[in-house]
Subunit: 121 residues, 2 copies
């Protein structure tokens, strides 16, 4: 694997759809993904892994069953495995995700928001 | 584990020493760390893991044996396992690191730059 720097802003110029994470690099068996989000996602959980969200631009809202978390740019949060969560954003928000290779974005749910795996940018 | 957002800028106000990574959260068996760096680090490698560097502020230089990588704010790179590297910064630089729990900052080297493990902020 070439040691190639990734410029996050440049990567975001290469796609503009929402809720469709793009892989930008891998670390061992983990993938770093970028996504544009807007509107509401679905309630879901990941039974086997924690998931990290880093807000890069805009405001990321993550509803949990008992609280709502709001992240501004420069803030991150780890959603523990098995925790139901529903991401949303009132206006477009750019996020970085970190999770093991193979994690499905909608967790145990499968619907029209379920994104293809391993789409690199 | 509480689902607690981490504000990166706030965390940086809580320490000012160089080359001494602070853990801010964990994701499965991985740790997200913040560090201030300035000057030159030591050549080292990590035999068992890749290591992710994200430059948050300033300019991060990572020398490899056959090339030199420069990262500005908003750029990241993954150094593959076993790859000798020497981080440095001409002036203070703030970085985010991602690696498995238990990784020693100086890799196989042990000297005055070897930082304590598992120091949270």
């Amino acid at each position: 694997m070439a040691v190639k720097p990734v410029n996050l802003a440049e990567k975001f110029t290469l796609f503009d759809d929402h809720w469709s994470p793009r892989v930008v690099t891998e670390l061992n068996d983990y993938q770093v993904k970028l996504a544009r989000i807007e509107g509401e996602f679905v309630w879901h959980s990941h039974e086997d892994t924690d998931e990290l969200f880093l807000c890069l631009e805009g405001q990321l809202i993550i509803e949990l069953r008992d609280e709502t978390i709001e992240l501004a740019a420069g803030e991150l949060v780890v959603i523990p495995r098995g925790t139901e969560h529903k991401p949303s954003a009132h206006s477009e928000c750019k996020i970085l995700l970190l999770e093991p290779r193979g994690v499905v974005n909608t967790g145990e749910v499968s619907n029209e928001l379920t994104a293809a795996q391993d789409v690199w940018v």
